[in-house]
Amino acid sequence: MRYLLRRSGFFVLTLWAALTLNFFIPRFMPGSPLQALRDRTHNKLSPQALQEMLTSFGFKPNQNIFVQYVTYLGDMLTGHWGVSIGLTLGEPVSKIVNQALPWTLGLVGVTTILAFLAGSFVGIVAGWRRGSTVDSVVPSVFVVTSALPYFWVALLLILVFSVWTNGALPSDFNYDNTLQPALDWTFISSVLTHAILPGLTILITSIGGWVLTMRNNMITTVAEDYIRMARAKGLPNRKIMYGYAARNAFLPNLSGFAMSIGFVIAGAILVEYVFNYPGLGYLLYNAVSNTDYPLMQVLFMLFTVAVLVAVFVCDIAIAWLDPRARAKG
């Protein structure tokens, strides 16, 4: 319990640090939202209307900076995220985010967890069968795939499966936009086929890291005395492999998983950009290229929250699986 309390304190601190960065970056960097807004509206709106719009996302340059900061923190936490000043001028940020969020969660969330589980499994097998053919091939292959740039894998897959096959697999958007969203088979299959290539990209590039760390953990664990003890007791091999070695070797990988969510987000932004997949990463790219400050702020906060939630879930899982973590407090 103390362990979780201490971690919660740390999360609050990290979130605060991220929000503070988020507040001060726009205010200390060159370029002003007012100017961006003026360009965007082609001077059609009156200065008052522009000021008002800016006020609505917490930009009050004449106010005391400390007051601004406190209101900003409150607004961020309570979901008063203001309105977009980018392409979708005037649209509430929360609405834009709500439209994009399910797509990112569905595509990136599912593939990441799949890659993690599959990678761990390959790592377990490779580490257990030390010196076998599997083990001699696995490190080299996955060292290479883990260093490939997300966007390059994406381009390669588009070329092979979409351009060369005359569009056998779609490489654009999240579903065939001639269809009406509905819960029927045509729509669902369209969503799924549109997810294949981006999903495969994330899978290929992110699986390597987890294979390698899992294999390394497994090799270290297999050398432990309790494994020899289990062998001496005459337990079946499969039971030692999963029940004794893999269970312990998996723990450090789980905390590694939480830490690498940040990298997955980086990859997701690039993948969504290449495939024009309308998730949060694509939204961030649009927000940046249209200098949509309120949207940028909210997205950065959401990405931080996503990592924090992942770390928190892994922390709970570790505390539940590992008595040592509980005891350490």
Binding site: T14, P30, D135, V143, L148, P149, L270, L308, V311
Partner: protein, 307 residues
């Protein structure tokens, strides 16, 4: 990772020991096929960065000298862009900037992580609490969105901005690892004896602690360089780099903007991407080889002929 700790011998003949350790490292590197391949790729790119004239005739890669959209031929190995620039020459001349970003950002990020990680472990107490808290916060904050936002605010393309941002966001992983290893070294006898001799703290850190951590520091440099290559290329690919610079990421952005894949010029996109991938792979291979050298348990089993 779980680097095996190398017990340092007495520091009386520091130079000869360092030389011997260097030689041992060199033989170990040469014996590992992963390291050999990694080094070979890296050396080739270094050569391309230093003397691009050796590889390509056209030194002006921006000028619109040729006919546009020429398919690969003897004169233009990879064809030309939609504006009539030679893709192969752009590729060769783009090496310098990509390599520079990787090495400089990797180097400074490593220096930062050594300073923060080792002093956190060695100072202990409140300083450790504060520094490792800082490290953990930076570990969690998603860096790529932060980089995108920063480079959008700071004006596109400035190389210095990109470098600073990569360094600021790239040090935390290494600092965490280095702190862990330095902590496990802290109570070793050879450090105790240095303290008893009355050496200054700075001396102990620089001449006693750091040499025993060489392999982890090198591994960290490689990791940070890999991170910088991929991140910088991603950033330029999104169009947040200097649009006029000669670099692989910029080529990727131009080709993507002109739909090179869909209009029958796939090499324009794939070749610079392959170079980014190869440079990344060379760092990753070297990194893994270092892991194997510092942790013998991970080495390929030699009984059967592996690979």
């Amino acid at each position: 990772m779980t680097g095996l700790l190398i017990q340092a011998p007495a520091p009386t003949e520091a130079t000869s020991i360092a030389a011997r350790r260097g030689r041992r490292l060199w033989t170990a590197l040469r014996r590992s096929p992963k390291a050999t391949v990694g080094l070979a790729i890296f050396a080739l790119f270094c050569l391309m960065a230093v003397v691009p004239q050796l590889f390509a005739k056209e030194s002006d890669t921006v000028a619109l000298t040729f006919q546009p959209e020429v398919p690969p031929s003897g004169a233009h190995w990879l064809g030309t862009t939609n504006l009539g620039q030679d893709i192969y020459a752009q590729l060769i001349y783009g090496t310098r900037q990509s390599l520079l970003i990787a090495v400089v950002a990797g180097l400074f990020a490593t220096v930062l992580s050594v300073i923060i990680g080792v002093s956190a472990a060695y100072l202990g107490g409140l300083a450790d609490e504060v520094l490792s808290m800082l490290t953990n916060v930076f570990l969690i904050i998603p860096t790529f969105p932060l980089i995108i936002i920063l480079s959008a605010y700071a004006g596109k393309g400035n190389l210095t901005v990109v470098l600073v941002v990569l360094i600021v966001t790239g040090w935390s992983y290494g600092a965490n690892q280095l702190r862990a290893q330095a902590l496990s070294l802290r109570n070793r006898d050879f450090l105790e004896s240095a303290r008893v001799r009355g050496e200054r703290r700075s001396y102990v850190i620089v001449f006693e602690v750091l040499p025993t951590m060489t392999s982890l520091i090198v591994a960290n440099f490689l990791g940070a360089a890999l991170y910088s290559v991929l991140t910088a290329a991603g950033l330029q690919f999104l169009g947040l780099g200097d649009p006029n610079s000669a670099s692989w990421g910029t080529m990727l952005h131009q080709s993507q903007a002109n739909l090179a894949l869909q209009t029958g010029m796939p090499l324009w996109s794939l070749a610079p991407g392959l170079c980014v991938a190869l440079l990344g792979v060379s760092f990753a291979l070297l990194n893994y080889a270092f892991d194997e050298i510092s942790n013998p348990a991970l080495r390929p089993v030699r009984r059967r002929r592996a690979r």
